[in-house]
């Protein structure tokens, strides 16, 4: 119980929004693709991904690797193989329907008229082949259809299959209240156990029924029998009422409209619930699974500094953070997502002390922070100041005992320097770097660099940091 409470503790409103948003996106994908092959394949891929996660957690190296490869290939296969279905779904809908609403079921075929037409065809021994598509697309299974789009009527159906009609040999596809296509070529079945009196029409009907979920009605030209093919099975239908019932069942038409509506609502509700559960599971596996602790060094950003102020020194320029979160989130962290900011708005001239807290640190969602080292930061802030200082030579070593240096004049005599006011104000001269005395044998000149110490001290623009020294050496008086 405690573990469950810990799992749910610390959930923010952003997390709930995150789960809700992604659940809705998944649900909308279901709504758009339901009834197509794509959705089934996506569900299989989701299951594969789930298995892959389990195999990773169990340490099944090859299995997880293989499933990962299959999943990646599967995603590619979906796009290539089902490009037509995807295109149909995306093209057929308005933008609003992507976000809201459900595709209305296709209009119900007037099965009585169709059944009566088929019965009439049978009585007259006119061969016919009628296809009633199921949820699957026929696009890849059939060929050479001629678009018809005629409102269903007994006369029309009879005329399509009338022997002198050029399209009477092909199949007619019935969709909703229309004859959508005629002269359609169906794939033939290669089964060898079919009765000898079954002709090409029967083989074509069975071929399509084997490959898709469509229902195909065949009217035998010779015998005047009506045969129905579905899911690879053929059945002779003797009575018109029986045919009506079969067609109704195929279309999922129930006599009770209220019951049908309830069933549809239940299906949608169940889908929404499954989407929510699935995304919640994914979210928890990402954010709560396998908590790890990762150390990370992050540079400090000093912000909101007053325009005239300059940072002279700080006790540290980076802090060590110990971040906690799920292993998968940790792996996806990019360094630029973590920022440590120190507001210098309240800083005054001199040394300022700040204590870093969680408020100073920006982290990606789902990542926590355990420790900050060091937490106390000293920042020295100052205003830059210019000052002209006399140059003085810093001699080192020792002249021979008989020699004495009586004069040493640097040129230029004065140098303008820039630096923090506290530093510059404390200076009364600027020194050269060490100049070695033993190297000198007599009077002369030499060059030396200025020693800019501390490092915050700079030579003013235009001035040189190298000076010339004219020196005079004489014999010592005894």
């Amino acid at each position: 119980m405690k573990n469950i409470l810990e799992l749910f503790s610390g959930i923010r409103w952003q997390d709930i929004l995150d789960i809700g948003l992604n659940s809705y996106i998944l649900f909308r994908l279901y709504a758009l693709f339901r009834g197509t092959h794509v959705l089934r394949v996506i569900i299989w891929l989701a299951l594969l991904w789930f298995v892959q996660r389990i195999s990773v957690s169990l340490g099944l190296i090859v299995t997880s690797w293989a499933i990962q490869g299959i999943t990646a290939m599967g995603a590619l296969i979906i796009i290539v193989v089902f490009r037509n279905e995807i295109r149909n779904v995306l093209q057929a809908r308005r933008f609003k329907s992507f976000l809201w609403g459900f595709s209305s079921k296709s209009p119900v075929t007037p099965v009585e008229i169709v059944a009566e037409s088929i019965a009439e065809l049978a009585r007259r021994h006119i061969g016919a082949l009628l296809v009633f598509p199921g949820k699957e697309s026929l696009h890849d299974a059939v060929q050479n259809g001629i678009s018809w789009r005629g409102q269903i009527s007994k006369e029309m159906i009879l005329s399509i299959f009338w022997p002198d009609n050029p399209v009477h040999d092909g199949a007619a596809v019935i969709q909703g209240q229309q004859v959508a296509e005629v002269g359609v070529i169906l794939p033939l079945s290669y089964r060898k156990d079919l009765p000898s009196y079954y002709g090409t029409r029967h083989r074509a009907a069975l071929g399509l029924a084997e490959n898709t979920d469509a229902l195909v009605v065949v009217v035998s030209e010779e015998r005047g029998h009506v045969v129905v093919a579905k899911k690879g099975r053929m059945r002779t239908v003797n009575r018109q009422e029986e045919l009506v019932e079969i067609l109704r069942m195929h279309q999922g038409i129930s006599d009770d409209a209220e019951e049908r509506r309830k069933r549809e609502n239940f299906r949608i509700g169940l889908a929404a619930f499954v989407c929510l559960i699935f995304i919640t599971g994914v979210w928890f596996s990402f954010t709560r699974g396998q908590d790890v602790l990762v150390p990370m060094e992050v540079p400090i950003e000093f912000v909101n500094r007053a325009a005239k102020m300059e940072i002279i020194d700080s006790s540290t320029s980076a802090v060590q953070l110990h971040l906690s979160g799920s292993a998968s989130l940790m792996k996806s962290i990019r360094p630029e997502q973590i920022r440590v900011r120190l507001d210098l708005g309240s800083a005054g001239v001199g040394e300022n002390r700040f204590t870093l807290s969680r408020e100073n640190i920006t982290l990606p969602p789902g990542i926590g922070i355990k420790t900050i080292k060091p937490q106390d930061i000293q920042v020295q802030v100052d205003v830059p100041l210019k000052k002209t200082l006399p140059v003085q030579v810093d001699w080192e070593g020792r002249l021979p005992d008989q020699l004495i240096m009586v004069k040493a004049t640097p040129f230029p005599r004065n140098i303008e320097v820039v630096g923090p006011s506290q530093v510059v104000e404390s200076l009364s001269a600027i020194y050269t770097k060490k100049v070695m005395l033993p190297d000198l044998q007599g009077s002369g000149t030499l060059e030396a660099d200025l020693d800019l110490e501390p490092s915050s001290l700079k030579i003013a623009p235009g001035a040189s940091r190298r000076v010339q020294i004219a020196y005079t050496i004489k014999e010592r008086e005894n």
Partner: protein
């Protein structure tokens, strides 16, 4: 002829007296704007040296070996209008090391100060000569080396 020379001698004195009188008037007109002038000694000579012998600097130099043990700052003021004092301010690497007050006597006076050298005294030094009001009269620079 004797009178003529006497007259010629008195004439410049009379001109000087008139000038002094007018200057005195001018001072009275703006008494607050003129600072109260102080008789300051004139620095005639200032050197760093290895020793002082008979009130004179010996071996004036700008580099002193620590082995000598001592270094002197010699100053000579001429004239010294009135008894006053000056400062020798010894500075090592921008840090004040010591500040000595030295009294000057009329009409001229030489004075000196010195420091005992230690190992930590190596490096560039400066002695600022200040008057009574701490105005810098001159700055002497030198180095203490090995």
């Amino acid at each position: 002829m004797k009178r003529f020379f006497l007259l010629m001698g008195l004439l410049p004195l009379a001109v000087l007296a008139l000038g002094a009188c007018s200057a005195s008037h001018a001072q009275e007109a703006v008494p607050d704007e003129q600072p109260i002038t102080q008789a300051v000694p004139t620095l005639a000579k200032a050197v760093m040296c290895e020793d002082i012998q008979e009130f004179k600097p010996k071996n004036a130099s700008v580099v002193f070996s620590i082995s000598r043990g001592k270094v002197f700052c010699y100053t000579f003021f001429d004239p010294v209008p009135e008894q006053t004092f000056i400062y020798h301010q010894w500075i090592h690497r921008n840090k004040l090391n010591t500040k000595r007050r030295l009294y000057l006597q009329t009409p001229r006076w030489s004075s000196f100060s010195s420091i005992q050298l230690r190992e930590s005294d190596k490096g560039p030094w400066r002695v600022e000569i200040l008057d009574q009001s701490e105005k810098v009269l001159t700055v002497l620079t030198f180095s203490i080396t090995d």
